[in-house]
């Protein structure tokens, strides 16, 4: 294995940085059920890291551990070279970890622009009193952050629906707005929980392009869960495979494709 503090260049010519997040022996239990059993893996800076596995393998639970929703009973999360103490999700967000959800979690009562602007909240520091006066500090900060939000809106090509209430949008666009909200936070790690679930081929192509562009242009580290194997194999630099809460494979897409345990997990195996 490569040293965790060093960068390296992949066979596709992509430069992958040192390890930014490391999960060490994570175990997560819900009562008697072990959703995650003693899993370790790391995420390197600038890479696209996929987490795959059959339904119920514990992928989403893993993402929830990273984003602070679940606190694992055992194991450590290391982020940027330091052990992360047990944190509330909003504290994790302030450390620069943003995510999207499997079933869209947008703010339905707000416009697209307002949704994207909520992504900027971690960057907005004006006090309540200054906000009540608006003129001056609050307005300046608002405009400054609006500019960033508009850049993201341009980037994801949703300018036309800026002022539309989110509740009126079709599914594919909602997914894109959710990505915009996560990106607006300018995260160092972006977690995507099934970004392409329920999309047709064209929408998947669009989404894949956006994910690659985000990784390219902003250098954002991305960890994603996806069921479409074609997409996973094309997009990701490294893949973790989970089954029944255990890690059964970890490596480049090619490694994983030829791993017998992974093949067994997906295709089934004869028990004799």
């Amino acid at each position: 294995m490569k040293d965790i503090a060093e960068s390296y260049v992949t066979t596709d010519g992509r430069t992958i940085g040192p390890v930014v997040m490391e999960m060490k022996n994570i175990t997560l239990r819900f009562g008697g059920v072990e959703a995650i059993k003693d899993i370790s893996f790391n995420i390197r800076e600038g890479e696209i890291r996929a987490i795959i596995g059959p339904n119920g393998a514990g992928k989403s639970s893993m993402l929830n551990v990273i984003s602070g929703f679940y606190v694992p009973q055992e194991g450590e999360v290391w982020y940027k070279g330091a052990r992360r103490p047990a944190m509330k999700p909003f504290e994790v967000a302030r450390q620069g970890i943003a995510r999207t959800f499997q079933n869209i979690a947008l703010f339905e009562g707000m416009s697209v622009l307002d949704n994207v602007m909520t992504g900027r909240l971690t960057h907005m520091k004006t006090g309540l009193f200054a906000q009540s006066l608006w003129k001056g500090k609050a307005e300046a900060e608002e405009i400054e952050n609006r500019e960033v939000a508009e850049k993201i809106i341009d980037f994801l090509e949703i300018q036309a629906i800026r002022k539309t209430p989110v509740a009126r949008l079709p599914y594919g666009l909602k997914k894109r707005v959710e990505l915009a909200r996560a990106l607006a936070a300018e995260p160092s790690i972006l977690l995507l929980d099934e970004p392409m679930a329920g999309m047709n081929v064209e929408e998947k192509e669009d989404m894949s392009r956006f994910i690659l562009d985000v990784n390219d242009e902003f250098g954002t580290t991305i960890a994603l869960i996806e069921h479409d194997m074609g997409v996973v194999m094309d997009l990701s630099d490294r893949v973790v495979v989970m089954d029944y809460g255990k890690k059964i494979g970890d490596g480049t897409p090619d490694d994983v494709r030829n791993n017998q345990d992974v093949i067994d997990a997906y295709l089934g195996v004869a028990h004799d």
């Binding site: 984003s67 929703f69 509330k88 999700p89 909003f90 967000a93 302030r94 943003a98 995510r99 959800f101 979690a105 947008l106 703010f107 339905e108 009562g109 707000m110 307002d114 602007m117 909520t118 992504g119 909240l121 971690t122 907005m124 004006t126 309540l128 906000q131 009540s132 006066l133 608006w134 609050a138 307005e139 900060e141 608002e142 405009i143 609006r146 500019e147 508009e150 909200r181 996560a182 936070a185």
Partner: protein, 370 residues
Amino acid sequence: MFYREAGDFNTSYAEDQQTFPIKFDRYRYYVVLFIAIVIIPFVINDYWANSLLLPFLIYAIAALGLNILVGYCGQVSLGTGGFMAVGAYSCYKFMTGVDIWWGGELLFRLPEFNIFFSIIMGGVMTAIVGVLFGLPSLRIKGFYLAVATLAAQFFLVWLFNRVAWFYNYSASGQISAPERELFGVLITGPSTPAWATYLFCLFFTVVCAIVARNMTRGAAGRKWMAIRDMDIAAEIIGVNPLRAKLTAFAVSSFFIGISGALFFAVYLGAVEVGEAFSITKSFLVLFMIIIGGLGSIFGSFAGAAFLVVLPVALKIVGVDWFGWPTDIVAHLQLVVVGGLIVIFLIAEPHGIAQLWRVAKEKLRLWPFPH
């Protein structure tokens, strides 16, 4: 046609984010302000001030406050009456000089505050009490929170009834506002000029509305709305739910406290807590924002106007025009207002504010259908 936005371009984010991005709206707002500030004070009389304008302005502040909590932050509260009482009693104590006792001895007595600052202090004290009673909102949601805030309503009314210190040990158990003036004009007491009380309340209403608008269009408002729409997602983007909910409680209670203080000091002059600030008041303000429109500044005004103006209008039509007996009109009022509320909620569950938005949408295109 009537409502044009063609040719109205915003060329900067500052222009796009102003309160009234459309010119027509902006001028209408200036006209309304002009009439309210410059014209009405000259034509006002006691009847119009006391039956219509003062209650409208004061309830509008309470509705704004409750709307921030319920409409923007999604935390249902039934404690409005109790919080208004806190505003009223704090204002009274600061007007008459707060006395602090310890072991039967007077430790010190604050000087009597000017009426303006007494009312501000009413808001401040209510904000503190509101935050205290907002603490359960971190654990309980929806109807259950509404029931928990009922505790505030009953406890606060009981407190102001029982503890004689709050009403300065007066024999009647009432509080009555002493005569106070601002810039040499009487604001409280029995012989105040109508225009002065009107302008005093108008000032608070306008400032509160601007503050509410500024907060709800910026970062604070987005935090509140994020909590309202989906609290889990709000937390994942970095909103601290504890702080967001408690600031909503604080700001909301501040407004409600100011309206309670004005209600007591300027409008009624003397109150008995069980009568003036009972649970009925909580429901009244809640109905105002439901009818007016949750999550809308305009809706708060529309709701307050609807519930204040309608009974008066019915009385004028019934008693003055048709000459019906007063008691029949009084009963008719209840029937008609109740019926209208039901019809309203069926026809437009999102309130008058939504009706207004739809009307604007139609007026933009009139006389063409598309």
